[in-house]
Symmetry: C3
Subunit: 242 residues, 3 copies
């Protein structure tokens, strides 16, 4: 049975970086789309793109392709996006799959779920870069892709693009709590992911906001899309299979 | 060296569902018994069976078979049962092995260790079913057997039986804390078990009530008896081997 | 590329017990030293050796061999030692690797990071043994080497030596917080390590004191140097590779 997956990338990424995982899902017989969210395309205006623009771009993609029964997968910042999409077009979706992704409450921004020292650093970087935020390599290497060797960590870093900071500071509007949506929900927790510190973790702190949800865990860092895409694809299949 | 194991099933189960794990232990040379606890046999009275009846039925089984040096293993609700059995006939036991199982304090019920929203749901179901409690399929599929595919989740669900709710609400009587019992104690934690939410977890919240204990962990859900009995048998062997 | 590793053992151990892991690192092409810390050599005075003596002995070793660009690895109590060494000769080091090891704040002793019931037990044992502390076998078997079988647990226990208790009670002096040191830092967390209870854990409680650090995890107990040295060597390689 062929399922339809839409993979929504995290901050600093585009759909292109989802390709290896998408191929893993396709090898299992599924149809996979990897749109690039508004704000992360090469020519997009980093200063003006906000969270609503990002959400609207994925809504447009799903409606434009007339997709239904979608397994909508969000990674990291992508959790903000898929939460907004689910709030707007739930009828086209079958299940939400969060991969170490933000699960917002109504009125929350991404920055509201992040340790203060990260917010201060993001503020400073965005302030000096026309409201585009980047990630210092040292943090990327140690806390985001700790399971890769140095050459892979560098090669992956070179693919990142400056991220529109308004999508981190805009408050999301949700008509109802995500737990109340009549959709399946899954949370994939990559166990060595320290992009958020384990004292303020992805799971169970954010995952349990989904109410009843299916937990799938796998060994790996925040950036298994680079460091172990086959294993991550397996986890997504277990998260999304029904 | 052949050890003697007695496996005590969880709520809604019978000894029959322990068979695959028991076979794994037998393949390692051990003797394994899988009694069905009072209240879960086909003809048992779900309305009247209480926790003392459940405990007494396993005491009778061990005494009736004249078993000694028993590795007494309890899964989930079975932790209530083996805790009571240990309090009554410790001299026949060698070691207690809890598998994501309840570890009560004197005077506690199972429901005292469970999130309030589960207790409210159990109350409502039991109130409408002559004090027998069942588990909605959606909760079973997402939170109890998250590591299985849907056909296995359904097949396993079809084997469950209505559970006597008094065994969840009765307070256990213990002559001394379990940590004070002069027996070996082990706790097997199946790592993706979300039958209890990870914010109110089996381990270390309940496991550490055992005092000095041996931790064994394995990947899997609350229902590895169905989803991965070979791996669970290996964990039990490591938990019980001395 | 050949890196230089110095492995600093935990309490009750000597450098000899690091040999199997050191061989695993050497097989990957690296140079590995396993000095025995002052206080744990056969003839050392257990009553008088303090934490400063222990730290100074490893400083002397590194300076005496004129080692530079050192990956300095500490296990358990060895975390106290490598923290002091890093504070004194950071210029000779490339990266600190803690393996379920203590990460002290300035003015803290090892005992300050340990549950009160362990401190009380240590006090009693050292009080009766000329200020040398030993570990009861039952605790070793259940909480330190829970992943081994009984013969291995016994054989490993027989290699332990009485430990100078002043190294647990002396407060460390640090010129600056470890997080402020301009060195790479990694933390290897052996996931079934219950030498510290999981309610008062190694990670993230102590690891996050390092500030930005690289997390590497592997399945195993506190004593993987005995129970699974190959797997631990792999984790150290991932922790130390750049």
């Amino acid at each position: 049975m062929s399922d339809t997956y839409v993979l929504v990338h995290g901050a600093w990424h585009t759909g292109a970086e989802m390709a290896a995982v998408a191929d893993g899902l396709r090898a299992a017989g599924h149809t996979v789309h990897c749109p690039t969210v508004a704000g992360n395309n090469p020519g997009d205006n980093r200063a003006s793109t906000g969270l609503d623009d990002a959400i609207a771009s994925v809504v447009r993609f799903i409606e434009g392709q007339d997709l239904t029964q979608v397994r909508l997968v969000g990674h990291s910042y992508g959790g903000m996006v898929i939460s907004g999409v689910a709030d707007r077009i739930a009828a086209r979706l079958r299940r939400l799959v969060y991969i170490n992704a933000f699960v917002p409450l109504d009125g929350e921004s991404l920055n509201d779920m992040v340790p203060p020292h990260y917010v201060a650093m993001f503020d400073a970087i965005a302030g000096a870069n026309s409201n585009a935020v980047t990630l210092p390599f040292e943090i990327w290497r140690e806390a985001f892709i700790n399971d890769a060797d140095l050459p892979l960590a560098r090669a992956a870093y070179d693919k990142l693009n400056p991220h529109p900071y308004r999508t981190f500071t805009d408050k999301i509007q949700l008509k109802q709590p995500l737990a109340a949506l009549a959709l399946g929900k899954s949370y994939v927790n990559c166990q060595q992911d320290t992009a958020l510190p384990h004292s303020l973790p992805w799971h169970p702190r954010l995952s349990e906001r989904l109410g009843l949800f299916r937990l799938v865990e796998c060994p790996g860092s925040h950036e298994m899309f680079f460091s172990n895409p086959q294993r991550l694809a397996q986890a997504i299949l277990e998260a999304g299979r029904d």
